[in-house]
Each structure stands twice: as structure tokens, then as C-alpha cells.
């Protein structure tokens, strides 16, 4: 009997000796309290992707990823205003498909999801399921945070009821009140992109030096007042948190995918007739790649070739470029173009707003994640365990099919950058997320 025990013990020893023993560091919270984490922000925070909001996008939002890791250091439940399905709401999301073009070719590109619309009825208010930890509202600007009844107004004007779904009193609530009432012990705040983006996505047709409409760039004073107010509200009870600044939108695929010199002339006849037509304006063409002709009211004849540093929007109709002479015999309408002056407005505003965010961070002793600088590193490529991410549409892997928002893997990159900053600043040891666990762009 005893001998059996001995041999058992010997056997165990035998096997344990063959098992590796190394382990990672145990997680710790440092000097922050993650028990009630709340995410403040816009579509990027909500988990918006592929041109819409849908359940799996929300489940893979960067705040959801953060919350999962915060749970290892005392974080509590993280409730999101989840949609019931994955079709996208209010409109369908985009998916990749092989699409026929007007010129008889087919190519892989985004198209609207045509499956079962499983998000119907989502305009019903679900605030009773809250309070929600993810307060990201697609479309919301920083300056909207102090507007009473924002949710109802946004629904009335834009027809988008993201806030109206989740706010307790959509007709009276100010977003800042909803944020303050969340009683966060820890928060992330990625606010301000829409104060620039609305203008840029609209081809710079709004007011580029400060207006009040969503298609304008927000006024600096209003931005600063609102940003400070939200930061004050979130820290009023001593909560700690992280601020993220505004990415430079001119590096995202929405603006960089359609090449400026995408007018490919293959026949001398085409070249000759265009040269004849444009001779009075002094514009000439040659075989091969040419700059597209764009509308510019200030140019002679109201049109000119696009220049370096200007951008064509991803939404420019491809069939019009290919088969209807857009960009050659007809100028591309200016609403599809971000011209040099508009680019300058976007970049000036981004710099100004980021300056405000940096000042607030340092005054309130909050760490700042420089999302602008980080996402620029996509230009040279970011790698993780054999995955490569770049700035290109579809193949880059980081941006979703709307060319603006991120894929779950893209959001995971952001989550890790946030975790890195939290660990640096608060002396915590929160594990990073495993980017390979999440989806990138899905191919048919």
C-alpha cells in the first residue's frame, strides 16, 4: 500500500518536472479604481464600424475590450446599449462583395449588407436596461455635450436615434448630465472627432472656420467650454481616467483611397479630344495616369485638375468616374473633394482642438493618449504577432469598410495603446488585449 503511494508521488514528481513553470506577472490596478468604468465618446467609442452600428461591433468596441481587462483588476460589469442584431442600425452596414461595375469589370469592394434586417424596432428607448457604461453616441460632437435635449434634436434633424435610444429623458437630458450621473470611478474620453469630421466627410461644404451645424467645424470657444465641462463633470467625484485626442482625418482611407491621378487614359484619341476641349483653360492630358478634373468655383471655368495634398472622398460614385466622364469631361463635384483650403481648415482645427485636449489633460492630471500620433504610425505599419496593419482601405486591416471607423482589430490596437498609457500613468499592470482574437476585414 505504502509502496503504491510512493510510486504515485514519484510519478507525479516525474511529470511535474517535465512541465514548464514560467508565468506572467499578475495584474494589478495601481492607484486607479476600475470598479465602475464609463466610456465617453462618439461613434469610435460606441463600436461603430462598416458605416453602421451593430451588435458585434458594439461587443468589440475598444471600451468593451478595456472593460474585459479591467475586470482582472477589480473592474465591474460593463453594460452597453446593445442592438439586437448585426445588420446595422438604422441603415445596413457595409460588407465586402464582388461587385460588377458599369464597364463590365468586377471588383471586390464594399456593398450594403442585404441579409435579414435583424435590428428592426431598435428605436425603442432602452434606458431602463441601463445605466450604461458605454456612453459613446455615434455622430455626437464635443459641443453637443452641453445641449439640453440633444438626443431628441439629433433624432429630429439627422434621423439618427442613437442617444434617444439610451438616454433616460431624450427631450431634456444634456449628454453631460448623463455622463455625470454615471458615477464613474474610471473613465475614458475620446471626444472631438465629429467637431472636425462632419465638415471633412461632407467635402468641406460647411463652415470651415467655426459654425454650429454638424457639417461645420465647431467653434473653438464652444469646443473648449464643452470639453472642459465634460472633463470637470467626469472628475467631480475624484474619478480617474484617460483622454484621447483627435486623429488627423486626412490620413484615413475615406480620403486616401481614390487616387488623385486615377484618370487612366489608354487611347491617344481620348487624350486628343480632352486636350482640345480643355485647351482654352490651359489643361493638358497625356497617355497613362492623369489628375482628375475637379470642380473649383474659384478656378477659371470653375474647374481644374486636383492637386497633391487634396483628397477625393471614398463616397465618390465609382460608376460616374468609370463610365460617366466624371473627373475628365465633367469635373468631380466639389462635395466629393477636400481641396487644399479645406484640408488646411481640417488640420488647423484638429491641431487647435488637440491643443485644448492636451491642456485639459495636464491641468486635470489625466494621461493623454495621443491617438492622432498613434494612428499616424499606421502609415509605416503596425505589427502584432504576425499581423500587419496599414493605412490602406480593406487590405490595411485596421479600418472598416466605411474608411473612417476601425475594425475590431483596429479598435484593439487603440485599446492596447490606452492600456499602455494607463499602466504608465497609474502604475497599474493591466494586461494588453490579444489583437489576433478579434476580426479584421472579412472577405467573401
Amino acid at each position: 500500500m505504502k509502496a503504491t503511494y510512493y510510486s504515485l508521488a514519484a510519478g507525479l514528481l516525474f511529470f511535474t518536472a517535465c512541465k514548464p513553470t514560467i508565468e506572467g506577472d499578475s495584474p494589478s490596478k495601481g492607484n486607479a479604481d476600475f470598479s465602475r468604468y464609463v466610456a465617453i465618446g462618439n461613434s469610435l467609442t460606441a463600436g461603430y464600424a462598416d458605416g453602421s452600428l451593430y451588435k458585434s461591433g458594439q461587443e468589440n468596441s475598444y471600451p468593451a475590450m478595456l472593460a474585459e481587462k479591467f475586470k482582472l483588476v477589480g473592474g465591474g460589469d460593463f453594460k452597453q446599449p446593445l442592438l439586437p442584431g448585426n445588420a446595422g442600425w438604422p441603415g445596413p452596414k457595409r460588407v465586402l462583395s464582388v461587385n460588377p461595375a458599369c464597364d463590365g469589370t468586377t471588383s471586390l469592394g464594399p456593398s450594403l449588407y442585404s441579409g435579414t434586417f435583424d435590428t428592426a424596432g431598435s428605436s425603442t428607448n432602452i434606458s431602463s436596461q441601463g445605466p450604461f457604461n458605454n456612453l459613446g453616441v455615434p455622430g455626437i460632437r464635443c459641443v453637443d455635450y452641453t445641449i439640453a435635449g440633444y438626443a431628441a434634436i439629433a433624432q429630429a434633424i439627422g434621423g439618427v436615434g442613437y442617444a434617444a435610444r439610451m438616454y433616460p429623458s431624450p427631450t431634456t437630458d444634456r449628454p453631460i448630465d448623463v455622463a455625470a450621473k454615471s458615477n464613474a470611478t474610471f473613465f475614458t474620453m475620446w471626444l472631438g472627432s465629429n467637431d472636425v469630421l462632419g465638415y471633412a466627410l461632407g467635402g468641406g461644404e460647411g463652415n470651415g472656420t467655426g459654425g454650429t451645424l454638424p457639417s461645420d467645424i465647431s467653434q473653438v470657444a464652444a469646443f473648449e467650454a464643452s470639453y472642459r465641462a465634460v472633463a470637470d463633470a467626469m472628475t467631480a467625484n475624484g474619478a480617474k481616467g484617460v483622454l484621447l485626442n483627435i486623429p488627423d482625418v486626412t490620413t484615413i482611407p475615406y480620403f486616401t483611397t481614390i487616387p488623385r491621378n486615377g484618370l487612366n487614359l489608354t487611347r491617344q484619341g481620348q487624350v486628343d479630344s480632352l486636350n482640345t476641349a480643355y485647351a482654352p483653360l490651359g489643361i493638358s492630358f497625356s497617355l497613362g495616369q492623369n489628375y482628375f478634373i475637379i470642380q473649383d468655383l474659384a478656378a477659371p471655368g470653375g474647374l481644374r485638375p486636383i492637386k497633391e495634398g487634396e483628397y477625393l472622398l471614398l463616397t465618390t460614385p465609382q460608376d460616374s468616374l468609370k463610365c460617366r466622364g466624371w473627373g475628365s469631361i465633367k469635373p468631380i463635384p466639389k462635395r466629393y473633394v477636400l481641396d487644399a483650403a479645406e484640408v488646411s481648415n481640417v488640420q488647423t482645427a484638429t491641431t487647435t482642438f488637440n491643443g485644448i485636449i492636451a491642456r485639459v489633460a495636464s491641468e486635470k492630471k489625466l494621461p493623454l493618449v495621443d491617438a492622432n500620433a498613434y494612428l499616424k504610425t499606421l502609415q509605416s505599419g503596425i505589427k502584432f504577432n504576425g499581423l500587419s496593419f496599414g493605412p490602406t482601405f480593406v487590405t490595411g486591416g485596421a479600418f472598416s469598410l466605411d474608411g473612417v471607423h476601425l475594425t475590431p482589430r483596429g479598435y484593439a490596437l487603440v485599446a492596447n495603446e490606452v492600456i499602455r498609457m494607463i499602466n504608465n500613468f497609474y502604475g497599474s499592470n493591466i494586461p494588453q488585449v490579444d489583437i489576433t482574437r478579434y476580426n479584421g476585414v472579412l472577405f467573401p
Partner: protein, 411 residues
């Protein structure tokens, strides 16, 4: 796809990140394994065909020798900044073997001949299809079998020489995930399978300086194991099939040259101690290249840097004769890794290895040796990166190898 090569009769897969630097396997003789892998100075038995062909003519007669090793190492990977998550290679037992026939052609002849069939290199690591490093490797299996006809000549009672020609055959099987996901989120997969071959030689000298003191030197040349027409197959989403065509590939794995010097000393009538110093020319393994016959924008030839460096390993052992019927052995070795800590891929995990071993030989009847050995190899925590993939973490290898062998003398 012919994954089975000529000598599959033994049902053998040679494998294991197990024993010896990197994918080198030092499992070619029972007594030597039990003595930390040392044995260049003494013709212990017919396995000297591998350890030092110069010893073959010093055997007392023709021997037939067979041994098999049960290798099932475990490698653990702890990713940086990932908390207490870790990954381990899946348990998988492989059985490298060594067979030898040889000795002096007749009693007291100065000439010895022999043939060795052994498995000098092998590596297998199966991390599973769905782990954090799947885009770098899912599984890899390198196998080799070397055939070494050998002649040896005893110049006088003091000095003997020997040399063998090596024909090496082997195979490589690699699987990794391709970072394109289908509509359900499932990643693509690449499978590379190929047969490899190469040639080389193994030569050595043994010197009996005194009745008790022996010296030995051996040199095994590097062998470039070439895969000429491997099969690369890809499973990817339908819309990307033309980007990843199934194609032939070629690659080359340079197995290092091994230069060994050693001495053995008969300290008492019963006790012999020995030591080897092993220089391995790993510098030849600078990069791993795959040349695909069909290239597309998505499928380009690859070149993964490895930047191996030469190493010097120390092996020590002792043999104690209990009587006419038995001997026992112990030994140990220190094997520094040839790998570069910035270029350590999880498909070839390595670290400085410490190994301890012991063994016993029983002689129930005259001429017959029954041998058993046990080797335990471990590494400390080894922090490393695979820079091309930005994969960073800490590795540890542990392995316990039991071995069995039998030898019969015809003299």
C-alpha cells in the same frame, strides 16, 4: 502529397525541440546520452560510427546496435504584457532512433567498416490552430534520417581514423494561419510540405595516449537539406483564391557542421570519466527562405531572418562498471543556444539548455547489452522576440527523454 519518406517502416517521426542546441538532436547512442552526450574519445560501442568514426576499428568485433528515444518536450510561451495567459505546445511523442552495424572486419583486423542510420536533426512544435501566434506558426515538423556508410583504420595501438559519407533525407511540414478572414471570421491557412535531401561526411580520429587516457576529435560536415519541389497549398476565402494559388516551393535548411574534441580518463579500474567540447557551426543558418514558383501580390517569396551564431557546448559524463553484468552512467551538458533573442520564432524555440542524464547497461548474457537511459533537459525563462512579426514573450522548454537500446556483439 507524399509525407511518408522511404524509411517509414519504423513508423518514426523524428522530432522535438528536445535535446541539443536548436533542432540538433544528440540522441545517437545510449551510453553517450546517459553521459551528457559525451563520447568522442572512446569507442564505447558501435554508436561510435556517429560519435567518432575513428573508433570503429577499435571495437573488439562486429556489433549490431539499435536504440530508440521517446521525445515529448513541452514548450511554454508567456506573451509580454498579457497577464497570466500562456500557451503550450501540444503533447506529442516522437521516436528518434539510431541503428548501427559495424566493427573490425575480422578479429584483430586493423580495418573496420559499418553503417549508421540515425536521426541527427528534428524539430516539431504544434501550438494548435488557434493560438496567439497562429499567423507565425501553427505547427512545424522537421524530420531527418541520415545514412552513413563508414570505414575506419587502426594505424597502430595508439591511433585510429575513420570517415563516413552521409546521405541525408528528410521532410518538412509547416502549417500557419494566413491573415485573411472569411465571412465567419475564420483565418486562411497555408500548408507547406516537402521532402528534403542533402549530403555530407563524418570523420574522426581517436588517440589512445596511455592505457587510461584517450583523446578524440571528430568533424561532421554541415549538410544543406534542400527541398526542391515542395507543395504549398492555401485555404483562403473564395474571393482571394487567385491571390493564393497552390504552387511548388523550394527552400533550404542548413544543418550545421559539428566539431568535437574530447578526452576520457580511466580514473579507477571501474570508473571512467569523459568530457567533450562541441563546436557547432550554426552561423550558416542566417535566414530561412521560401521561394514560391507562382508569385502574386499576396504571395511573395519570403525570407525570415534567423541570424544564428556558432556555439560551444560542454558535455561531461562518467561510467562505472559494477561488475561483469552491469554498468551505470551519469552525465550532464550545457548547450548554449545558437538563436538570436531578437529573431526567435515560436516555430524553432530555443534557449540555453542544461541537461542531466543517467543510464544503466545490463549484460544478462555474454555479448548482449540491454541499455536504458533517461535525459532531463530544461531551460530557464528565456525572454525573446521574433522581430519580423513583433511577437514578444518568454519561453521555457522542459523535456524528459527515456530511451531504450540493445546491442549484440558477434565476436
Amino acid at each position: 502529397m507524399k509525407k511518408i519518406f522511404v524509411l517509414s517502416f519504423a513508423g518514426t517521426t523524428i522530432a522535438a525541440t528536445a535535446f541539443g542546441g536548436s533542432f540538433q538532436l544528440n540522441l545517437q547512442g545510449m551510453r553517450q546520452v546517459a553521459m551528457g552526450g559525451s563520447g568522442v574519445a572512446m569507442p564505447w560501442d558501435a554508436s561510435t560510427i556517429f560519435y567518432n568514426p575513428g573508433g570503429l576499428a577499435r571495437l573488439t568485433g562486429i556489433q549490431a546496435y539499435g536504440s530508440v528515444y521517446l521525445v515529448s518536450p513541452t514548450v511554454r510561451y508567456v506573451p509580454d504584457h498579457a497577464g497570466q495567459i500562456y500557451y503550450e505546445t501540444q503533447k506529442h511523442t516522437s521516436t528518434p532512433f539510431a541503428l548501427y552495424v559495424g566493427g573490425p572486419i575480422k578479429k584483430d583486423s586493423r580495418i573496420g567498416i559499418g553503417l549508421g542510420i540515425y536521426t541527427p536533426f528534428g524539430s516539431s512544435a504544434d501550438w494548435g490552430d488557434d493560438w496567439t501566434g497562429m499567423y507565425v506558426t501553427q505547427s512545424i515538423s522537421l524530420q531527418s534520417i541520415f545514412f552513413q556508410p563508414t570505414v575506419s583504420y587502426r594505424i597502430n595501438d595508439r591511433i585510429s581514423l575513420g570517415a563516413g559519407f552521409i546521405y541525408g533525407t528528410g521532410s518538412v511540414e509547416i502549417q500557419k494561419a494566413v491573415p485573411v478572414q472569411d465571412i465567419s471570421g475564420k483565418s486562411g491557412k497555408a500548408s507547406l510540405d516537402g521532402k528534403a535531401s542533402g549530403i555530407g561526411f563524418n570523420a574522426g580520429v581517436q588517440i589512445r595516449a596511455t592505457d587510461d587516457l584517450n583523446f578524440g576529435v571528430s568533424y561532421r560536415s554541415g549538410v544543406r537539406m534542400k527541398v526542391k519541389e515542395g507543395d504549398a497549398t492555401f485555404t483562403v476565402p473564395p474571393s482571394l483564391v487567385t491571390n493564393f494559388p497552390d504552387t511548388k516551393f523550394s527552400t533550404e535548411l542548413p544543418l550545421p557542421s559539428i566539431f568535437t574534441v574530447g578526452a576520457s580518463y580511466k580514473a579507477t579500474k571501474r570508473l571512467t570519466v569523459q568530457a567533450d567540447v562541441v563546436f557547432a557551426g550554426w552561423k550558416a543558418y542566417d535566414s530561412l527562405k521560401f521561394d514560391f514558383e507562382k508569385n502574386t501580390s499576396a504571395l511573395t517569396d519570403t525570407r525570415d531572418p534567423r541570424l544564428y551564431k556558432n556555439t560551444v557546448a560542454i558535455r561531461l559524463g562518467a561510467n562505472y562498471q559494477i561488475g561483469k553484468m552491469a554498468e551505470v552512467m551519469i552525465g550532464g551538458a550545457y548547450d548554449p543556444t545558437p538563436s538570436d533573442a531578437m529573431y526567435l520564432s515560436p516555430d524553432a524555440v530555443d534557449a540555453n539548455r542544461v541537461s542531466l542524464s543517467c543510464g544503466i547497461v545490463l549484460k544478462p548474457v555474454k555479448k548482449l547489452d540491454i541499455m536504458a537511459a533517461l535525459n532531463y533537459t530544461t531551460t530557464a525563462a528565456h525572454k525573446a522576440s521574433y522581430t519580423p512579426a513583433n511577437m514578444n514573450g518568454t519561453y521555457q522548454i522542459k523535456s524528459l527523454i527515456p530511451a531504450l537500446g540493445i546491442s549484440y556483439s558477434f565476436n
